[in-house]
């Protein structure tokens, strides 16, 4: 500003002078002088214009900056720091269902595959599924933590469970991460997916038969992501072994271990896939399965191998309007040890069982999805001593066929209808289910 004012009078004087001289006599000398003055004037005018432009630029930048500051003064920066500003992200998922069965679901069993853990059909009629409370936040610059507490109704009683309570490293070098606490094991594709993100209202039969619906345990998980151009992740877990398919925290409380490898990639923006192979070795010490009142007891080793494959398609990668998902898993297990029958008779056991499921989900237009699933199990025929026990399979392999349709108003709400034609038990069962899933609060991003 000062510069401009200082130069203005000078410019005026020069301008005035040029006028005075112009009125004088026409001579060569004068012409030269005039020329000189004109060039000076042009030069000064140019400099003044330049200075003015710079000044304008500076002023507008000031204005822009002050506008920036105003915009930055968002509510979180003016609020007084208080204890609750570090509250974790909290979310609640509400889930409910209604099921109708031909057979009594209380008597549900799969011959040859005594169920453990949380496996089995939902109660008949109206009921609440788990109401899931999640909390998560970074602990500090090196750790992050997650808590999932489902509240369930078990035989009329409200039971608060602990599904996930883990802490994970954030700053290990070399693509490493370690998780500690209680978590869903990384084996298979569906094992670490929350109930609310399943594409059907129930788990595939292989998960029910071999993993007690989902394998959750306490321990350590190591994951290493290879620095490759395609996705390649190795993982390993050391777990307490207190839950089905382990049990009794064998081996002084280090009852089960897992190893897994996952790989995946894209084909253009429209297709992506993920494939995995994992192995679970569980020591069971008096593990219960079958009927809750008169359980079978198993002590021995379980080896479970899982191969999984997922393929997703969406036009140009826009899954919101239209998408397709195919998913299949194959499981094979061998159990070696001793089973004790409810009447107390023990017997040696060393047999293999296997199974698979394949499912496809198609969303042809916004909000609506349609799905179909096939389940299949098969088992080695054990010795005659097991005939007539829950460990002896039927002549026909257990199988199930399911159809589902769901409607989502947003990512936070979903209503679903499902039909199962279940030939897993001795009597064919037609199962009709309705389900709702609603989420409020923080809702973590879903994995692939």
């Amino acid at each position: 500003m000062n510069i401009r004012l200082r130069h203005l009078p000078l410019a005026c004087v020069l301008l005035f002078c040029s006028q005075v001289f112009a009125q004088g006599e026409q001579s060569a000398e004068l012409d030269a002088l005039r020329e000189e003055i004109r060039s000076m004037r042009t030069e000064y005018e140019a400099r003044i214009a330049d200075l003015e432009a710079r000044l304008d630029a500076a002023e507008s930048q000031d204005a822009a900056e002050s506008r920036d500051e105003a915009a930055y003064r968002s509510p979180e920066t003016v609020s007084v720091a208080s204890d609750n500003s570090f509250n974790p992200a909290i979310g609640v998922t509400f889930q409910g269902q209604a099921w109708a069965y031909d057979n009594d679901p209380e008597d549900y069993s799969i011959p040859g595959f005594p169920l453990g853990g949380e496996a089995g059909p939902a109660p008949e009629g109206l009921s609440l599924a788990e109401t899931e409370i999640t909390m998560s936040a970074n602990v500090d610059d090196k750790f992050t933590a997650m808590l999932t507490v489902p509240i369930v109704i078990e035989e009329g009683e409200v039971v608060v469970e602990l599904e996930e309570a883990w802490v994970e490293t954030l700053s290990l070098p070399g693509g490493l991460a370690i998780r500690m606490g209680r978590f869903f094991s990384d084996i298979g594709y569906l094992n670490d997916k929350h109930f609310h993100s399943w594409d059907f209202a129930d788990q595939p039969l292989v998960y029910q038969a071999f993993l007690g619906s989902q394998y959750i345990d306490d321990g350590l998980q190591f994951r290493w992501l290879a620095p490759t151009d395609f996705y390649l992740q190795f993982s390993g877990e050391v777990l307490r072994g207190d839950r089905y398919p382990a049990g009794g925290a064998a081996n002084s409380g280090v009852g089960s271990t897992t190893l897994g490898v996952n790989t995946g990639g894209d084909i253009g923006f429209s297709h992506s896939w993920l494939a995995g192979f994992s192995w679970l070795r569980a020591d069971a010490d008096g593990r219960e399965s079958g009927s809750e009142d008169d359980p079978l007891l198993f002590t021995g080793d379980t080896d479970l191998f899982i191969a999984d494959f997922v393929w997703k398609w969406a036009p140009n990668g826009n899954s919101r309007q239209k998408n397709f998902k195919f998913q299949a898993e194959y499981m094979w297990r061998n159990e070696k040890g001793d089973y004790t029958l409810p009447d107390g008779t023990p017997g040696p056991w060393d047999y293999g069982q296997s199974g698979w499921y394949a499912q496809a989900i198609y969303q042809p237009f916004l909000r609506w999805r349609f799905g179909a699933r096939i389940d299949h199990l098969s088992a080695d025929t054990p010795g005659m001593m097991w005939e007539g026990t829950p460990l002896y399979p039927s002549d026909d392999d257990p199988a199930r066929f399911s159809l589902m349709v769901d409607w989502s108003n947003s990512e936070f709400s979903r209503l679903r209808f499902q039909y199962n034609h279940d030939r897993a038990s001795d009597f064919t069962d037609n199962q009709f289910g309705l389900q709702y899933i609603f989420s409020i609060g923080a809702h973590g991003a879903h994995a692939f």
């Binding site: 822009a64 506008r67 920036d68 105003a70 915009a71 930055y72 968002s74 509510p75 610059d141 992050t144 994970e168 954030l170 700053s171 290990l172 070098p173 693509g175 490493l176 991460a177 994951r223 290493w224 992501l225 620095p227 490759t228 151009d229 395609f230 996705y231 390649l232 992740q233 996952n262 790989t263 995946g264 990639g265 894209d266 923006f269 992506s272 896939w273 993920l274 997703k312 969406a314 140009n316 990668g317 826009n318 899954s319 919101r320 309007q321 916004l366 947003s410 990512e411 936070f412 409020i440 973590g444 991003a445 879903h446 994995a447 692939f448």
Partner: protein, 307 residues
Amino acid sequence: MKKILNTYLLLLLLVLPVAANAELRVFACEPEWSALAEEIGGGLVKATSATSALQDPHYVEARPSLISKVRKADLVVCSGAQLEIGWLPMLLSKANNPQVLPGKDGFLEASSFVPRLDVPDNVDRAQGDMHPQGNPHIQMNPHNISRVARAMGERMALIDPGNAAAYASGTEDFLVRWKLAIEAWEERAQGLVGKRVVCHHKSWIYLEDWLRLEEVATLEPVPGIPPTATHLSALLKELGTNGNGADVIIRAPFQSAKASEWLEERTGIPAVMLPLTVGATEQANSLFGLFDDVLNRLFEAHTGEKS
């Protein structure tokens, strides 16, 4: 033998510096930021975008390939303001790369360097897909691109100090070219001031702010909820059938044309698809081409012919 050994040593010497001076790997959530990284860093950076211009960055799967890219990234650049809330946190938590976590030098949230518009006083999901930190589609005001360019250049220099001078001159060079382009665009867009627009989604608020357009309605009843028949009929009533209710209806390439064309047919207001980022149309092949094409298409819709 010695000669062979020498040759090997020479080769090793030739290879080593290349390995040490590997490119700065930039993982951008949206194509505008990978384009900007290339403008600034030139051959020093290798930039990839997680999404394509034909993809709605709100709804993206946390694909395995993206996890691998984040794992190897030196710098992650995203619009932020919760635009990528549905997938970026999953990528970051699976990628095990501590250099690019939020708060670190390797994570640049573009929207934190610009004045954000539409910051709500309170949020409720009944109002649709709300962004508590303001509208995240900041790239549609070229002045915002300048602001992010400065921040990005500084960040690149911080992460790769050996090439700091190159990033600084790359930033300056871009900003000069960009400033001239902005002046030309602003000159050209004088005729658009005050035009009334109907948008599919509130993706254009920064463009409207820049060109001083007036947004009169959105096709979505609430943000993130697709146009409904009821809402469209109400709009039709509001805008009238004589084409005087608004000047143009705009949508992004990944938004269904159905609603805007339905309204165009009945109101006579021209509907136009505008590129929302680099690569969305043939002309929008760079940041410069993006705004050229936006103006071209707006003028074309406005005058019914190419300007």
